[in-house]
């Protein structure tokens, strides 16, 4: 994905191709990290692409482009989640209900909300590790690079996340297929 010395036109063209390649994954990951909020997922993905555009000249290819971008995306999602939490807290203080995405869903909306609520009980690290590895299909090593953690830490996060989710969502075990994502 480019490097130092590349002309600006070539860099912009490569960035456009990069957005086209990663848009779907970015939105999917952002949606899962944001608790299933469509509008917030779009904001996260947009901000992550903007940050990637700014950081692109410093990308030297030491890491895979995908893990480099996932790292930006996860940090952006974390920042947006914190801002949203503050908004909800302030709104709660004044007895108001902060705006949530009202995009209609075609899937099992109650089940999605249950899973989102369960993921919300995890720590940031556990949630990000679980989403990246078990839902987005990254390997432990790739997730570790994206999260800036050691692989052992990611495995620990995954183990604790799984234990917690099975406590909360134990009734869902094996109800939909058996395809393994990791």
């Amino acid at each position: 994905m480019g490097g130092l010395g590349e002309s600006e036109a070539a860099r912009e063209a490569r960035f456009a191709a990069f957005v086209a390649d990663y848009r779907g994954r970015a939105l999917s990951t952002a949606w899962r990290l944001s608790g299933g909020d469509d509008a917030l997922a779009e904001d996260i993905a947009q901000d992550a692409f903007l940050a990637a555009h700014q950081a692109l000249p410093s990308f030297r290819g030491d890491a895979q482009l995908s893990t480099w971008f996932y790292r930006i995306l996860v940090r952006t999602a974390h920042r947006h989640r914190r801002k949203r939490a503050v908004r909800f807290k302030v709104a709660g203080l004044f007895g108001l209900e902060a705006a949530r995405s009202t995009t209609p869903v075609s899937g099992d909306a109650p089940l999605r909300r249950r899973i989102a609520a369960a993921l919300d009980t995890l720590s940031e690290g556990q949630r990000a590790a679980f989403v990246l590895v078990h839902m987005e299909g990254l390997t432990v090593t790739e997730a570790a690079e994206a999260l800036g953690s050691a692989p052992g830490t990611v495995k620990s996060h995954l183990h604790r996340a799984l234990v917690r989710l099975r406590e909360v969502l134990g009734d869902l075990q094996g109800t939909q297929g058996t395809e393994v994502t990791a």
Binding site: L50, R112, V133, A150, P151, K155
Partner: protein, 152 residues
């Protein structure tokens, strides 16, 4: 470095039940399929934000416009003030604040005098009622709170 860190092993010790559970969550928890129009709107919004980003702003700011702006400011600074421009009375301002009148709004008499001036530069630089931002009618703490609550 821990023992785990040295293993470089991507495999996870998941039982069949764990794998089925994880697969169930992954299958159920995914966004709706996106319509191409939404992707197009996303790309357009991203492009607009990239265009609006201040990259090398000095190169995009015409030198002539900069000189014209500087000249306008200079003219405004050295131009004689109209004799009829009233000096704000601190007591009057305090009274206005006490009844909730925004401090940015000029007194009605002064506004009339300024509009009547024949100085075109001064007229351009003087805000009229139509130029006053609606937000200026609210105190700063209300705006900050509204921003946090995303009411704006």
């Amino acid at each position: 470095m821990s023992k785990h860190d040295t293993q470089h092993d991507d495999t996870l010790p998941l039982t069949d039940a764990d794998q089925a559970f994880v697969a169930t969550l992954a299958a159920a928890y995914q966004p709706d399929e996106r319509h191409p129009a939404r992707d197009l709107a996303f790309d357009r919004a991203l492009a607009a934000r990239l265009e609006g980003r201040p990259r090398r702003a000095w190169a995009r700011w015409p030198v002539g416009l900069t000189l014209a702006a500087a000249a306008a400011v200079l003219v405004w600074v050295v131009a004689p003030r109209p004799a009829s421009t009233p000096t704000p009375d601190p007591g009057a301002v305090g009274g206005a604040l006490a009844v909730g009148t925004p401090p940015t709004a000029p007194p009605a008499a002064a506004q009339g005098d300024l509009e009547a001036t024949s100085d075109p530069v001064l007229a351009l630089l003087t805000p009229t009622d139509a130029d006053v931002d609606d937000d200026a009618l609210y105190p700063d703490d209300y705006l900050a709170l509204a921003d946090v609550l995303a009411l704006n």
